[in-house]
Symmetry: D2
Subunit: 365 residues, 4 copies
């Protein structure tokens, strides 16, 4: 306390720098804002461009051990050129040529596939081959072995979602390469995977512990495919119940289902939420702000979406991001399509687990 | 401490009695046995008799406010003539004549219906009509309004399971009569209830809170019907996966699914577990002891079951009880039927919640 | 359905009886009342009588293997002479003569000791000797080894609380006798047990798993003694905070603390709640009804208590029961003592775990 | 699929850049390493320098609304000059001059204070004044109002820990300024806060909901001060129990306690773990790797610590960081001090909630 030598403010700041220190008072506005100021910005990627570039990569870039996957990631313009769609989420188009194999590996990053178009690829998860078709959602919880194979004569493309940025920033990633060969049994793609046959019956769970295709103790859903026919029917049911006068929708004309872990009822992956939203013809959602960020894929239909101060007309395959606390709303075209179907994934489970989640519904404009 | 007057042992025991006291040392063998000694005994009820008596009651006893239900309960011979199948579980056959209504009420006792034969009755739960058909399981969590109506020209019978004895012994029951009339909308029985349309899609949950047909804050599954076609398929899938060499069954030839709450993945009711077991032709289960008791209904097929030191040949509709810690095993007839299908319900969730559950698998004989 | 033979109502009832069946409609009023009708009745036991009979038993009845404990249980007059204070709770006075040992055993029944008077006995739990003094609360979760020893020249008496009736009715009990000899280290009674030295520091838990004196995987608090000096101070603090104008009490003049498991914050035992209540001089509590039952011990002071339609003047050592859904209130004598201190235990955790708990606070008379 | 125009690899990469896309195959080594490669580096800050610079800031920089706090943060040399001790954790020395007030505010960032030296400052949390003394740990869960006041004639310094970087990267922060004046009651510092009087008794929790000084629904410990006398005694007890032959320590000579939430038994804050470790004279800990990062403060004693490939001799007040998956071990000087006392905080609760935690204990060198 005694003997503080008289220094100037400039000398003080030089002292801070020399000692690897930074004062709060010059940084507080940036670090502790009144509400989240996202570095990520609203941005839209057009499916047409994505698809074209992926196809070019299919011709030019081999897929194999080392590169592991032919995946092309959305890089949010606000995040310094890194392949991060938002500060926590990775979104990429993955592209597999006829007959190609994407090698087996496992990693702590949680992942899912969502099929935009085509069919004929299967994913092998811990030895269980899972068919992939348009509209299917395939969760891939961390540290499960997985590989992909295209058994058809056509290339195939799908959306990969992972928590790569979150685990990169928090430095929690592990990775391990897997086998180079698969058994014959694994190369046959049944219509339903064993995971679906064990866990895909509504409200029914296998009594046998051996029924889990997941490795014991791993988090995440044991159900490895959520088929479009179920998702589509669930959304149609909600809109029908609303029409009968019994609610069931998020708001008028806005149906939504969440992909959930049948063993817990909770989110399908520990760090990512996935949902399908259907906005009926002519309907418009109220603007909502949430902590945490989302990536949306236009699965079907056309309409317009507003993120913060940006508005875009969107159509099938388009991808866009909603940064933290930026208001989001969407409307279905009144004339053209039956409905606007939006696939969404977000980092909400992280913030709910840590009690950092907030939501604010705004008055519609 | 001072002045303890000399008394005889006889005087001491008279003093205990006078003061409403009982010493431990004379009771400990009964109260604190080395392992559970059930008062309930193994017992079998034949469907033929049950059905006949229920039909007679249908002719003689009206159903209406006051008596509330035409339900005839299994009374375990070890439990003093009370209508308790086991110390905690109520099992009854309920019988409804053509055109009859069982009046609306609600109670804290958790309940379910399981349909042994017939179709055409619906249960209205909080205004949502739910069709009932053979093999369907309908949970009815406590304090939800419900009524039944037989819209057909035939009588119908089903199994009612409740935790009446548990709540009777622990003195936690509340009851409230409901409306006497239903709206026209409630008198129409759709193929699928609103509950199924909202919660019956595998791994998908409605995002809207308004999607719950249950009253907010009540425990128990929001899914109000588990249809036989799903249960049957899930069991067949397990046996097929086992045949392919990938496990999935409880033990060889023994498939089993648990009816679960899709909102939590846990048991369908807070105090009762419900499962369907399929024992393939010629298969035999290993004897298992568990704390807590079960009631079994032979849903289909024929075979033989052993409970403690009792063995019975059983066939469709027969009911029997497995008291606490008595070994249970079952075998399917090698020749006659495809499989032995056993519906089971038990008080296991009570003991798991309180950490009092134990299981011991014995060597097969 | 066809061929139901014409029978009389009398014949129908004989048929039920013959087939071990009981109809609901004759029993529903008893089984499914509008609100709980307790079989147990309000009852009071005077400490003076209990103490005298226990002392006589000390002279006449040896303690040792077989009888295991010199414990004398409250038998609720409504429960048919069985040693059940309420349908779920056992309450007994246990009495140990100078130099006596109560042999080691373990059982699934959860237990606690609460010391009414005296000191000098220790309980050895899994080899950890725990001193017992007036006002101390010692939980004893199921399946932990324990024995008692009176190292003094005076007899000692304390209250034993267990869930014996609950486990008796639900048939979940296991019991195992333990060692007949103790090591010298176990015969020394330190001021603080190892359990207290590891788990008795406020808000601090040991990082080492080896710090648990409980056997791994067992439920219940690892803290084996809750000392009166802490309980007393916590109650005094609440009344002081209330006097300063900041709340902190249950209601004016009514302080209460709950004995909790420091590893979970929850109840100290899976099936029993234990609390100490202090009613300040002249204060009166509002009548409260709760599902489930309680046993109260007057630890200190004097006052009057009302249970249902019974009212008693009570003083140190008196014990009474509050059956399910009977209104309870208590008042401290305005002049005589500083406060009325009531130790309470109940079966509340059972009903909270199963979502069967209800509470209703009535207007004070 | 058809009509993919022939492009060169260079053109493909230009296309990616133009469309805000980044391929996985060039980034996978950085993004998905075999095990965490921390950007943060091991680094040590000497208390002497920190203290001197803080004192200079006390002379030159006012504290008040806008800057809010005179806090000087550790800036990890691997993290680009930002005031982040690790990718998720903020650690700063806060300095308050005699008579100064740090203004009231609240924020979603979780925080704590740990007092390195001095006493006489109090923190007012939701109106409850909490005294601060050397060795005390004061958690400050997000969104609780708080201010600081130095009531003495001496400056005072303490360590501030927050999850500022985590909330900054995930963009979940809210902030709100509070009152500018305090009541007289708030300006008096009692020896024990109301929070301690309600929640600071071992194993005892208030029954009254009104006993919480936290705003309802907020996460985090209701106990607002963990006093050094309890922490010190708990550590001494562990070493004594180890010496008696009963374990209780993490490893030989290494005692550790975790600051826990008495309402849940879990971590004191949703995003941060806090512990005190005592390494007995001459003892050495085994190297441990963990996912997630830690900041250590040498509270007392001297010794040497190794982080990854760096080793430092440390003494009272020194601060250092352990990045993710870098091995950490510490040893107490064999001759000089009784023990090495290390205060530690980490982001472990984040990874445990998300199931991303891993630990690996290495063989001692």
């Amino acid at each position: 306390m005694l003997g503080v030598m008289a220094v100037t403010l400039e000398e003080l700041y030089r002292g801070f720098e020399k000692e690897q220190l930074v004062p709060l008072w010059t940084e507080i506005g940036d670090l502790m804002p009144v509400s989240p100021r996202s570095a990520a910005v609203p941005h839209l990627w057009r499916w047409e461009q994505l698809r074209e570039l992926a196809a070019q990569a299919g011709e030019l870039v081999p897929v194999g051990r080392g590169g592991e996957r032919r995946a092309i990631a959305l890089a949010n313009p606000g995040l310094g050129g890194r392949p991060f769609a938002t500060p926590t989420l990775w979104a990429a188009i993955q592209y597999l040529m006829p007959g190609e194999d994407a090698p087996e590996h496992r990693h702590t990053q949680h992942a899912f596939r969502f099929v935009v178009e085509g069919e004929g690829v299967w994913t092998v998860v811990n030895g269980d081959p899972v068919a992939m078709r348009r509209g299917d959602f395939l969760p891939q919880a961390g540290w499960n072995w997985h590989a992909h194979h295209n058994a058809t004569a056509e290339p195939m493309a799908w959306l990969d979602g992972l928590d790569i940025p979150f685990q990169y920033l928090t430095e929690t990633q592990f990775f391990e390469p897997g086998r180079d060969q698969f058994s014959d049994a694994e190369r046959i793609t049944p219509d339903r995977s064993r995971a679906e046959r064990l866990w895909g019956h509504p409200g029914l769970r296998p009594v046998a512990a051996s029924g889990a295709q997941q490795q014991p103790g791993l988090p995440g859903s044991p159900l490895l495919a959520y088929r479009w026919e179920h998702t589509d029917r669930a959304l149609a049911d909600q809109l029908a119940i609303e029409a009968e006068g019994y609610g069931g929708t998020v708001e008028p004309g806005h149906a939504a289902v969440r992909f959930s872990n049948p063993a817990t009822g909770g989110d399908v992956l520990p760090t990512m939420r996935a949902e399908m939203h259907r906005i009926a013809r002519g309907a418009q959602t109220a603007p909502v702000r949430e902590t945490g960020s989302s990536v949306y894929l236009v699965f079907d239909g056309s309409g317009s979406v507003t993120v913060g101060d940006r508005t875009w007309a969107v159509t099938r395959g388009d991808l866009f991001v909603v940064p933290s606390w930026q208001a989001f709303s969407a409307g279905s075209d009144p004339g053209e399509s039956d409905a606007l179907d939006l696939f969404r994934f977000s980092d909400a489970p992280v913030f709910e687990a840590l009690r950092l989640n907030r939501t604010q519904v705004e008055n519609p404009r």
